[in-house]
Amino acid sequence: MRKVWIIARHEYIVNVRRIGFIFVTLLFPALGAVGLFIAVFFSGQATTLLRSQFATETQKIGVVDQSRMFTPIRAEFAKRFVAFDDENAAKQALLSDQIGAFIVIPSDYLATGKITSYIKSGLSGLTNLGSGDLTEFLVSGLLAGKVDAAYLTRASDPVELTPVTLDNKGNPAKSGGFSFIAGFVAPYVFSIMLFIAVFASSSYLLRSIADEKETRVIEIVLSSVSPTELLAGKVIGLGALGLTQVGVWLLSSLVLSGGLGALVAGAVLVLNPANFMLAALYFLLGYLLFGTIMATAGALGSNPRESQQLAGIFSFAAAIPWFFASVFFANPNATLARVLSIFPLTAPTTMMLRLPLGGVPAIDVIASLVVLLISIPVVLWGGARIFRIGLLMYGKRPSVKEIMSALKSA
């Protein structure tokens, strides 16, 4: 272990003082500070500018009502909608920016429900329509005079949802803003941090290994330490480097948020420690797994670019659960979610996405942790063997046969 720490310390110290690392690490806080500066000193002007670009609510929507159900425009909608006799008139008004958009309600609207909307090119036209306003206008036109005013109001805005999550005993979970953040936000933050830390650290790992191969110093190092010690030292040292970078970014965002972030972070820890601790554990195990895989990929590549490509495949695996996030939201215990929770490459991110939704069976948590705890030493063992043959291959990559032979050898 002593040599592992020597290597880890060396990698950390050498890379933390690189100009490139310092620049990238300070870049985001600097950009944040610049953004804050602009917000504080130019907020008035910025607001005016933004309003002039995105002030869609001040522009009216034209209505060509062939169904005769919605015109004349009722008083309560007069600020938002304006009637036109025909499409040409509405078109001219749109082209001359008198209106932000217009709709044509056909004579058979009641039967079909179809309405055609017209906007000018550009994204602002879409937001001009403001679907909430349009729905309210149409519902009001359909039901006005046919139902009581209270029913008309409710039909226009039928729901304001208050979610309550039940635990396994049927008791309501803690409600409130902080609890939501503690249980829900923290694991997502950890999964994003894992992603960033994996990407940040993997680039340093790859570069470090590629440099040592390119400069041929690797053989001297391998004469002093075993491939396992070298691999472990690099993963730890450069992982700490990646975490340092993420830590600086988090700290700067806490400072720039005026301490609000620190308050939230504190609340997270106090109000839902279980989720917080599990998320932190999955983050650590996930990093160890991916870090080892990245380092091995670095040794396999015949040149730095190839190493990056190989590493990219595994980085993609870490992101796969995000593609199915909507499935998890709908059903956190879907078969897909449970399968991804026990596949080593997707387990950390999947569990960090499932945990905040609640109701994850304990067996799933235990199984995913066990899978990771078994996978990490296995990957380290295999990675060290592949590391050994890959490191000495200059300008070419080990073949699949050579890799299998390395894994089988004593």
């Binding site: 330490v225 043959i389 004593a410």
Partner: protein
């Protein structure tokens, strides 16, 4: 058995269909300078990497300092053939790190690095980055890195590669000093003439197999003709002891008959007052011995 520093027995290693090391057997004794010689691609570096546990053998037994490879790393100094340094680090930082990997403490590594840098006249470059040194200087630093931790066994793979003649002699002096301190040195080279004067015992490798093995003096005696070399060339017409002579560049090689002892012949020449300026026993260079052995071996294989 304690005197055996390296024991290699029936070592085998292949890379796909290429047999790199083919049933190689040799031993290195405590305190000697041993040569692992052969042309490029003979299997020297592969053998050395197996000794250093950088790669694994397919078959055979290997003991280094009484242990399997990889156990006694901290007692071995290694200079690989494919060698480099951390270009962006300072010279002293690089040496201290490599020394720490060999089990030294940071202060001890710093002190020893300073001593060795002074020994090779690089003391003033200690605070410079490695990339600022010339290639020859970098190679000296690489050599220092292999000796920093005062190893018992020093393995040097092509130590003279890329060095100018002056630095070749500096390195040879260093090797002799190590020998005088009781260290064991195993070095490999493809230019055999460079190591003839250094090695006591050798193994000559061709296509992974040992073609010659043993004490250098015995090998040279076995393959050298019964002849002496003199300067300037003289006439030996009518001498019954002389089979033939060859003259090259003012040096004359005199081939004696089998029954004639060189010592007796020289005595006779000197007694007659012949004007000899220089004389020495004729010795076939190692690379010529190698070519002869390999050629004969291939002729035998071809039947």
């Amino acid at each position: 058995m304690d005197d055996l520093v390296i024991q290699v027995d029936q070592l085998q290693k292949s890379f796909n269909s290429l047999v790199a090391v083919d049933h190689l057997t040799f031993q290195v004794n405590q305190g000697e300078i041993f040569g692992l010689l052969g042309p490029n691609g003979a299997g020297k570096t592969t053998t050395i990497r197996i000794l250093m546990d950088i790669i694994k053998a397919d078959a055979g037994a290997v003991r280094v300092l009484g242990n399997p490879p990889g156990v006694a790393r901290e007692r071995i100094g290694y200079l690989p053939e494919e060698r480099g340094l951390y270009r962006g680090l300072r010279v002293d930082e690089t040496l201290v790190y490599l020394g720490q990997l060999k089990g030294m403490s940071s202060p001890a590594a710093k002190k020893r690095a300073a001593e060795l840098l002074a020994r090779v006249e690089l003391a003033e470059w200690a605070k410079n980055k490695v990339q600022e040194l010339s290639r020859g200087m970098q190679q000296k630093v690489q050599l220092i890195a292999s000796l920093l931790h005062d190893p018992d066994l020093v393995i040097l793979d092509e130590p003279f590669q890329g060095l100018d003649p002056v630095n070749v002699e500096v390195v040879k002096d260093l090797i002799r000093d190590l020998r005088a301190q009781g260290k064991t040195i195993a070095l490999s080279a493809h230019e055999m003439s460079q190591v003839e004067a250094l090695c006591e015992r050798i193994v000559l490798i061709d296509h992974g197999k040992a073609v010659l093995y043993g004490a250098l003096a015995d090998i040279k005696k076995q393959f050298s003709p019964n002849a002496i070399e003199i300067t300037p060339p003289l006439s030996f017409d009518g001498w019954v002891e002389v089979e033939r002579t060859e003259t090259h560049d003012h040096r004359q090689l005199i081939y004696l008959t089998k029954e004639t002892a060189p010592r007796e012949f020289l005595k006779k020449v000197l007694d007659r007052g012949m004007p000899i300026e220089q004389f020495e026993m004729a010795s076939t260079p190692l690379d010529q011995i190698f070519v002869q052995v390999v050629t004969d071996g291939r002729k035998t294989e071809d039947g």
